[in-house]
């Protein structure tokens, strides 16, 4: 298979190329841990197995390892630190309740994203419209080299966030998982319970709609 960047250059554009696909991780064979083994060094599959064997402390390590990604995903949906931390906590509580039944058909991260997307979409469906951040513009650093340029950048970012918030739920989730969580299309399909083709089509339509929304704004 040819290098992605080379292919992109051949096609005539010079922008950044998204990272190459990584297939959805197959069901990982967990390295079996002894009860005295240090959990912090264990991989996700071993942590899941340890938890399912009754080692509750394995969940602390799972939280430690995935809390940032889950929090950032939630923040992308709700644009507020307080709401994002509440939702991220909810994601982990749900994961704790369901981890016993997790069959490791996908990676733990993908499974957590799936829970996260469901929690966030449920929340944003109930609590509409999504508040989009003027806080970003308010936090422009006046001491920056070029405050005006910085202001424009933050305004543009706020406009993009507002436009993303208007996308249909599945397109929004697809865009967020692809662009910000850097998930592969296979992982997105797993997280959203769709096919790879549908995940790609959603991503295409998300970008197309985002472009139209940004033009109209």
């Amino acid at each position: 298979m040819r290098d992605a960047a080379a292919m992109a250059a051949t096609a005539g554009w010079t922008g950044p190329v998204l990272r190459a696909e990584s297939a959805v991780k197959p069901r990982a064979k967990a390295h079996r841990l002894a009860p005295s083994d240090d959990l912090t060094a264990a991989d996700d599959a071993a942590l899941v197995e340890a938890f399912q064997a009754g080692r509750r402390e394995a969940f602390d390590v799972i939280v430690l390892r995935h809390r940032r990604a889950v929090y950032l995903l939630c923040h992308r949906f709700v644009h507020s630190h307080e709401d994002a931390s509440d939702l991220a906590q909810d994601v982990f509580v749900r994961a704790f309740k369901a981890l016993d039944r997790f069959k490791r058909d996908s990676s733990l991260a993908t499974w957590l994203y799936r829970i996260g997307v469901n929690v966030c979409l449920n929340r944003t469906a109930v609590k509409t419209p999504v508040a989009v951040p003027l806080e970003a513009a308010a936090s422009v650093d006046a001491r920056a080299d070029d405050p005006l340029r910085e202001l424009l950048r933050t305004e543009r970012a706020a406009a993009v966030q507002a436009a993303i918030a208007q996308l249909p739920p599945k397109q929004r989730a697809t865009l967020m998982l692809r662009v910000y969580q850097e998930c592969s299309h296979e992982e997105i399909a797993t997280a959203l319970g769709s096919t790879v083709g549908a995940a790609k089509a959603n991503f295409f339509h998300a970008l197309g709609n985002l472009r139209r929304l940004l033009r109209s704004s």
Partner: protein
């Protein structure tokens, strides 16, 4: 190929994974080239949106919150697993009862070979209403239906026996003794 790119192919183009033939099409087709460029620009705009990271102190606080919330949840309930085991045991007992009904063993003349105190299944069924109901239902099934409905998957029996309590194992052993001892 003269057809324009499909949505999936546009995404492949963004990822730099388009086949050489389709790359050639993009090079020759102004419409597809503009669409790819537009999508690429939009993607670039989306990627520039950053969110501020919370304070490093937040993470420990967050972990503590999650630990607090999960510590209030009950530990993995053993009974939940036990119910599954109970179902499996019930299936196994049902299979044994059905086997007895379908192929009734001759009544032994000398009952001393059966462990002391063991009751025949029919007596158990007479004493236990739910078991007699099972026996009644089983009588209406033939073996082909039974094997489809009640036969446990391979390995289920081993796993099930490992999960039995000593008392349950004793009951199972007694039932098996009754069945095997008569063969």
């Amino acid at each position: 190929m003269k057809t324009h790119l499909t949505p999936q192919e546009f995404v492949d183009a963004l990822d730099g994974r388009l086949s050489p033939a389709r790359v050639a099409h993009v090079r020759d087709c102004a419409g597809c080239r503009d669409e790819v460029a537009g999508l690429h620009a939009t993607l670039g705009q989306a990627r520039q949106v950053e969110i501020s990271e919370p304070s490093p102190l937040f993470w420990d606080h967050f972990s503590a919150r999650v630990r607090q919330a999960t510590s209030e949840l009950p530990a993995r309930p053993r009974w939940a697993f036990g119910w599954r085991s109970l179902g499996a045991v019930a299936s196994a007992v049902g299979v044994l009862v059905l086997a007895l009904l379908i192929n009734p063993a001759p009544v032994p003349n000398d009952t001393s070979t059966v462990s002391g105190g063991a009751q025949p299944v029919q007596e158990l069924a007479d004493e236990d209403g739910s078991l007699s109901l099972l026996v009644g239902l089983a009588a209406e099934l033939d073996w082909s239906e039974l094997s489809q409905v009640a036969a446990p998957a391979e390995g289920t029996a081993d796993a099930m026996i490992e999960e039995l309590t000593p008392e349950q194992r004793e009951v199972l052993a007694r039932l098996l003794q009754e069945e095997i001892g008569d063969l």
